[in-house]
Amino acid sequence: MKKLLLATVASAAMVTAAYADDVKIGVFLGFTGPIESLVAQMGPGAEAAIAEVSASGKFMNGSTVTAVRADTTCVDAAAATSAAERLITSDKVSGIVGGDCSGVTTATLTNVAMPNGMVMISPSATSPALSTIEDNGLFFRTAPSDARQGVVMSNIILERGFKSVALTYTNNDYGKGLADAFAAAYEAAGGEVTINTSHEDGKADYSAEVGALAAAGGDILVVAGYLDQGGKGIIQASLDTGAFDTFVLPDGMVGDSLPEAIGSDLNGSFGQAPGSDSEGAARLATISGDAFDSTSPFAGESYDAAALILLAMQAASSTNPADYKGKVFDVANAPGEQILPGELGKALDILASGGEIDYVGASNVELIGAGESAGNYREIEIKGAKISTVGYR
C-alpha cells in the first residue's frame, strides 16, 4: 500500500530524473467530470496492479513501474487529447490504461494513440462502435461491448418469464448503446419494450421520467444507467411511487452501494455484470483492502487492463508498444496457466522463463474480435439487500 502511494506521489510530482529502468504506465481516466465517482475506484484499481508488478521485482529484470495519472474529464475531448499528449510525449509512458468514457476514448485513440503508436487498454469504454474502429491493433478493452451485454440481458429476462419491460437509459453513448442493443435483442426474441426513454445524470428530479415509465407499463423496469447517478434516482423514485417493484440492473448499476442505499425494497431485482465464476473478483477484494472498492463497476477491469499491459510487455521483453501490442492476446487467452489478481509475480516468472499464461484476472478476461472482452457475465440477484451471484453466462 505504501509503495502504491509512493508510486503515485512520485509520478505526480513529475520526477523528471527517471531511472533508466523505470517503466511508466498512464492511468488515463476521468478523475473529474460526470463519472468521477466511479473513477475514484477505477484509478486505484489500475494502480494496484502496477504497484503489485513493481513490488514483485520480477518485471523486466527488476524494472520498477510507476503510474502516471491524467484526467480525461470523461466528456471534454479537447482536454483529454491534451492530457494524452502529455502522457505519451512528455511523461513518456509505455502504455495507457484508459480512457474511460467511449467518447474521449475514441478521440484520444484516433488523435493521439494511433499517431504515436501507443497501446491503450480501456477498462470501461463499452460502446459497440469501438469494435469496428480502425486502431492498428493498438486498442483493447477489458470491458465487453454492450452489443453482447444486450443479448445476455435479453436472455436473462426472457428466461425469468418477463415478456414486457419498460426501459430507461442514461443519456450517453454507454446508456444509449446498451439500450439499443438490448431492445433489438429482446424484441427479436419476442419481448415487448413498452417505452425506451433516456434520463440525464445528475439532474434535479426524476418524477417526470418515472411517471412516463409507469404510464407506459411493463412487468419490470430495465435501468441502463449508473448506480450513483440518475439510475439510482430512477429506482428510488419508482419504488417510492410504487411504479415498479422489480428492476433489471446491467453492469453500470451493479455495486454494493445500490442495495445499501435502497435497502430491502430492491430484493428480487436482478441483472448482470461482467464477471465469471473465477475467484478473481474475490482475490481482488483482498488485495484492495481499504484502498478502493473492488466491487465498484470497472474497478476489476481497471486492474486487469493495467496487468495486461505489463504482462504483454514481459512476454515481449520490450516496453515498446509496437513490440508488445501483439502479445496482449497471447497473455490474455488460453493456453497457459491461469492467473488471478495477486498472482502477477508468478505470471511474470512464467513469462520470463518463456512459459505461457492465460490471464483471468478480476473480470475473467477473454479477448475476442478486435481485442475486447468476450463478455462473460455474472448473473446477479438482490437477496436480503445484498448482491448475490446466481449464475454465469
Binding site: 445528475g202 418524477s207 421520467e209 418515472v210 412516463a212 409507469a214 404510464a215 428510488q236 417510492d240
Partner: protein, 337 residues
C-alpha cells in the same frame, strides 16, 4: 366512479405529489435568488453551489450526531443539524460579501460585474465542496421514509392505484410553507424587513430615510443562507446529495424566479410551482389516465404524451421564453431595472 377515483389517485401519485414537492424545492431556491436580485440587484449564479455548501455542512453535522446516537425518531436527524448548517453558511456568505461584493458596492459597479463575481464564487464553492466532501453521492437521510405507501393505500382502499407520500416530501412542503410565511412576516411586519423592502424599491430613498445599507445587506445574506441551506437539505433528503446536481439545479431555479418576476418573492414561489408542474405534466404520458377516464375498455394506442421526457429540461426554458415574449416582467411584475 371507481375508475375516476383510480384516475385521480394515479395523477396524484405521479403528477401532483412529486410536482408539489419539487415545486416547493424550486420555490425555496428561487426565493433566495430573487431576494438577492431584489435587494442586492444581481443574479446570483453561486446560489446552487451555496445550497450545496450549506447541505454539506448539514451532512457533516448529521453524521456527527448520528455517530453520537442523537436522532429525532421518525424525523431525519438532518433537521437537528440544520441550524448549524445555516450558521456556517451565513458566516461564509457574510465573509464573501465582505471580501468581494462590498468592494463593488462601494465602487457602484454595474450589476453585471456582481454577476461575474458570483460566477467566480460559484467556481470556488464548487471546488471547496468537492474538496471537503468529495464528488460522490452522500447519504444522510434516516428516520421513517414514508407517510403513506402506495401499496398499503391500494390494499386499504381496494383500488388499482395508490398514492405514496414520503416523509421528505411532506417535510419539504411543510417547511417551505413555514419558511415562506416566516419570510413574508419578516418582510412585512418587522422594522428590518420593511427597511429591506424600502431598500429594494429605491436605494436612494431608503438611504435618505436613515436605513443602514450594511445592515440590510447583512440581513439579506443571512436570509439567503437560511433559504439556501433549507432548500438544499430538503432536496438532499428527498433525492440525494451530489455536488454536481446542485449546480444543475441552478437552471430551473432561475427559470422559476424569472417566470415569477425577478425580485418578487411571491412570484418566485409561483414560478417554482409553474416550472415543476409544467415539467411533469407536459411530459407525462396520459395513456393510463385516459384509459381510466374514458368509459368502456378502450385504451389509447400510443402513450398520449405531449413531449418526450428527453426534453423535460427544455420545458422550463420554453415557458421562460414565452413569458419573456408576452410578459417580460414575469407573472407577477418583477423589478424592471
Amino acid at each position: 366512479m371507481e375508475d375516476l377515483l383510480n384516475a385521480f389517485l394515479l395523477m396524484s401519485n405521479f403528477v401532483f405529489v412529486p410536482a408539489i414537492a419539487y415545486g416547493s424545492q424550486l420555490a425555496l431556491g428561487a426565493v433566495g435568488v430573487t431576494l438577492v436580485y431584489g435587494i442586492l440587484r444581481f443574479s446570483n449564479f453561486a446560489h446552487g453551489d451555496t445550497m450545496a455548501f450549506g447541505t454539506m455542512i448539514v451532512i457533516l453535522f448529521t453524521w456527527w450526531f448520528q455517530s453520537m446516537g442523537i436522532n429525532l425518531g421518525p424525523l431525519p436527524t438532518a433537521l437537528l443539524a440544520l441550524p448549524f448548517g445555516i450558521i456556517v453558511t451565513a458566516i461564509f456568505l457574510l465573509g464573501s460579501d465582505k471580501l468581494i461584493y462590498r468592494f463593488y458596492r462601494e465602487q457602484k459597479a454595474a450589476p453585471v460585474i456582481y454577476l461575474i463575481a458570483s460566477v467566480g464564487i460559484m467556481f470556488v464553492l464548487n471546488g471547496v465542496v468537492r474538496f471537503i466532501i468529495g464528488p460522490n453521492d452522500q447519504r444522510f437521510a434516516d428516520g421513517e421514509r414514508f407517510i403513506v405507501k402506495a401499496r398499503e393505500m391500494k390494499q386499504y382502499l381496494g383500488t388499482a392505484e395508490g398514492v405514496s407520500i414520503k416523509v421528505s416530501q411532506g417535510l419539504t412542503v411543510i417547511t417551505a410553507i413555514i419558511v415562506v410565511i416566516a419570510l413574508f412576516w419578516f418582510l412585512n411586519k418587522t422594522r428590518t424587513g420593511k427597511s429591506m423592502r424600502a431598500f429594494s424599491d429605491n436605494e436612494d430613498l431608503a438611504l435618505l430615510s436613515g436605513i443602514s445599507p450594511d445592515k440590510v445587506v447583512a440581513v439579506t445574506w443571512i436570509l439567503v443562507a437560511i433559504l439556501a441551506t433549507v432548500a438544499g437539505t430538503l432536496y438532499g433528503l428527498d433525492k440525494s446529495f451530489k455536488p454536481f446536481t446542485y449546480f444543475q439545479l441552478l437552471l430551473p431555479i432561475f427559470a422559476s424566479a424569472i417566470v415569477g418576476g425577478l425580485g418578487n418573492p411571491l412570484g418566485a414561489i409561483a414560478g417554482g410551482f409553474v416550472i415543476a408542474f409544467s415539467e411533469i405534466m407536459i411530459t407525462y404520458p396520459y395513456k393510463k389516465f385516459v384509459a381510466y377516464v374514458v368509459p368502456g375498455d378502450w385504451k389509447p394506442e400510443g402513450l398520449v404524451q405531449l413531449l418526450a421526457t428527453d426534453y423535460k429540461f427544455a420545458v422550463s426554458f420554453i415557458i421562460l421564453v414565452l413569458v419573456l415574449l408576452f410578459r417580460p416582467t414575469g407573472i407577477f411584475a418583477g423589478k424592471s431595472v
